[in-house]
Amino acid sequence: MRLFAIPLFAALLPLAAEAQTPATVQMDKSFIRFVSKQLNVPVEGRFKKFSAILSYDARKPEASKVEFEVELGSADLGTAEADTELKRKTWFNTDAFPKAKFVSSSVKLLGGDRLEITGPLIIKGTTLNITTVASVKTDAAGISVAEGKFPLKRLAYKIGEGQWADTDTVADEVEVRYRLTFSSKK
């Protein structure tokens, strides 16, 4: 009995260790995009620079942890003047607040591959809790893909102040869409 138990335990160790190692994001297979509505026209932008780490264990999803950081100055709306505008004080104020940061505080398994992730999102000095439902798929090669979206109220973060606070021009609600591909290879 003892003879059996030890090798089995030993065999499980590397697996457990691998699952606990935070995986870093593969930029070429990941994106963080945002869709704002300008006069009811959906306009998609993306962040060119961000980083994310994931500690995910398919057998214990609730113990997972997700973190990401976005360089707000890397926002790309497609036109140079809009990109410059977004860096200004009334928008992201990237000189004072260069990064947005999220750290998950709770992860709930909803069934299937769906996880409900909640945690504080800090943008422009304001911290607000957000909740997003992500589908997380892990393949045999240890590649995990987390995909989902969440709504964000830009005015709660003071993104777009002064003349831009008018929601008839730019709607308050912005949809953030993400796909984060992680490789657990060391």
Binding site: Q38, L39, V41, V43, T79, E81, Q163, W164, D166, T169
Partner: protein, 195 residues
Amino acid sequence: MNPIRYTGTAMLLHWSVALLIFAGFGLGLTMVDMTFSPLKLKFYSWHKWIGITIFALVAFRLIWRLTHPAPALPTSLPAWQRKVAHYSHVAMYALFFAIPLTGWLFSSSKGIPTVYLGLVPLPDLLTKDMGEAILLATDPEKPFLLSDLIRLAHKSMNYLLGSLVLMHIGAALKHHFIDRDDILGRMIPGPKSRP
């Protein structure tokens, strides 16, 4: 027999399209040089809505024109003037369609959807990735993209239409005040019979 005047429908279409062309052209010239502001975004939207409206009105107008004969030109008009009038009208009609279309294409090529009156989303004719296709890279810092070509086409056609419109107005005024014929009168509402 040809009527003396254009029909009421044709006049309404002519004058509303004329008004919209001036508004759309003015907005277009103004908005491109504005600093980024909510008003600038509004001007872009209005400019697009005007373009789509012109496209629709002119489509209807063309069908109307083909099914309702235009009033005859005065017999005193020399053949070459008839020819110039005919071809410049054909060119204006072509531009009435081509200009809104290139504007819509340009918007799509920049990844910005067009939503008529903020209510009706139009399909995207091109993707942003297509718009970023490099056509000429003589200056690697600032390559000439497909979206640049579409923008250039939209702009050039607008200046061409602007010139034709000026010629159109000039000719109408010349006929009315110098030749004192009834060419302009055909497009002006008034009493049923010619004095």
